[in-house]
Subunit: 333 residues, 2 copies
Amino acid sequence: MAGRQRKPSMYDVAALAGVSHQTVSRVLNNHPSIRETTRAKVIRAIEQVNYTPNAMARALATNRTHRIGVLIDGAGHYGPNTALRGFEEAARAEGYSVDAVSVGETDDPAAGVEQLLLQGAEALCVIAPRIPSLESVRAVMRDLPVLVVTAGSAPDRLTVAVDQRAGARLAVEHLLALGHRDILHLAGPEDWLDALARLEAWEQRLAEAGLATRAPVIGDWTADFGYDYGYRSPEIDHATAIFVANDQMALGVIHGLHDRGLRVPQDISIVGFDDNPESRHFLPPLTTVRQDFHALGTLSVTQLIAAIRGVPVPQADLIAPELVVRQSTAARG
Amino acid sequence: MAGRQRKPSMYDVAALAGVSHQTVSRVLNNHPSIRETTRAKVIRAIEQVNYTPNAMARALATNRTHRIGVLIDGAGHYGPNTALRGFEEAARAEGYSVDAVSVGETDDPAAGVEQLLLQGAEALCVIAPRIPSLESVRAVMRDLPVLVVTAGSAPDRLTVAVDQRAGARLAVEHLLALGHRDILHLAGPEDWLDALARLEAWEQRLAEAGLATRAPVIGDWTADFGYDYGYRSPEIDHATAIFVANDQMALGVIHGLHDRGLRVPQDISIVGFDDNPESRHFLPPLTTVRQDFHALGTLSVTQLIAAIRGVPVPQADLIAPELVVRQSTAARG
DNA sequence: GGACTGTTTGTTAGCGGTAACATTCCGGAA
DNA sequence: TTCCGGAATGTTACCGCTAACAAACAGTCC
């Protein structure tokens, strides 16, 4: 009801400068045919009344909001959060503002999408998506550009991703090269595409090496889960290495193994995924697969803005991940 | 120029339902005097054309955006990020959307504030502020409600905070009780109010105990910095305990001490601050001070919305932090 | 039956911009 | 001087909604 205090409008500026409101508009939009003296007058008036344009009114008139919606899963985790920061930064540099909605396990992603549309998003970006998020976005794909930041094939939509499969293979190959033959996998939640890709690549690489794989354990990304797994899981007794789907769980696994009386890497090797800034300071420092999350965000903006403009976008190559070898892995004892 | 595809408006709905556009508006806003049959007709029409209201137009007409701006420092860190999630969640529940701008070390916070205002924020929240952010917000305090999530006194503005001083005292007292007398402090950046509060409380508590304090080292919140400090700092030779300003740095410190040949807690005790979800899985698990960041965000929303409505807001009490004792601290050897 | 309620609906005028068209201004060519 | 054409400015309409007022339509009461 109340309404905030009214701010000066173009008409106030126009009156003060002795011109029409449209002239003020032209000055603001750098229209070519404005006399230099007029422009100066207007600018002075703008400063005098401390005018700022009203983005809502402009959006209404132009039918352009310059706003990009981001639906983000697991915003509390390092990877998604870092990607979001990169996205935000790049978008701002291009004159777009971003409207981010984070969806948790229990939230309905469709509600998030709806909110983004209500706020007038011109395009949508889905970061680190779980399958439900993907589906809730499918319905709007014909109305506006949608980009998904994730592994997984995508014939119909835009995608930007670090190559999860390649990353997982790097991890497994590293362990194979060290002589490990019984390599377990502690996976991420099964409704996360990235988790799925890592799991599949692990299975596949082991199959290629002619090794049997045991059923992976499905975790929840948290260190707590990792601890439980490391402390209790019976299968660990027979294995010499574990490929863990993210660094946080890996930290927990190391802790759990420690409490169980197993030493890393002497008794068992651990490889993580992501390369969080903290991972190099675990005890022992964690061998892991680095992904450039920030670049992910930046690249997403490039693609989405091209799509908004209607420019044909070359489907970006997958970003290559990188193996970082530290002390949590060693040759099979 | 281009403009997205035009979506159906109230007029389209009105025409289809055979009523005036204003009646449609009334249905949408739950105006009391609408005949039930009419409401049904309108709702059916809304569904038929798949109408969604245009938030920009509504904002223009009402001069209300229902948007809250958040300026966030250190969005990459656990604490601020978690607070932001809590804030976002609570705001959405109240029917507000949040526009978050994250400012890094090098960014100009004033630019962030300006963007938030341009987007029509009705109120501003500053999370985990460094001093420059606070100053850039001071200028707009008379135009709209501003709330700062931080320690530090605040006669003029709204504040919500975990009691940093109390937290730091808990940490120091714990160490004193264990018999430590030479307690170092690795602080956060000096332009962070929270870091400052922790540092001052450390100094003060030691002074009260009649103990001398050595000049604290100023860190940057990162584990890398903590490692360097733990590995190299000469003063550590004389100390038996270190109070570290956050958990990430504490992780690095433990690593650095380890590489230096010092054992935690046998040779030296470590207390952190924040209680990140990972901290209980450090080796050794970290004794630290827990802050409820999520509650911080929720509480902020409550206060800001009250302020927007013009309701007098009782200045909230400081949220009490909690000491979590784990294995990184032990009685003085 | 007519004036008097209150409920339900319609009409009109903005909110603050931009787009499209109309107009004025000006220097140069005829 | 007159006329022309582009540059500079003004006018009007409209984007999609809400607020304020006006109108129509009951039902009540005397």
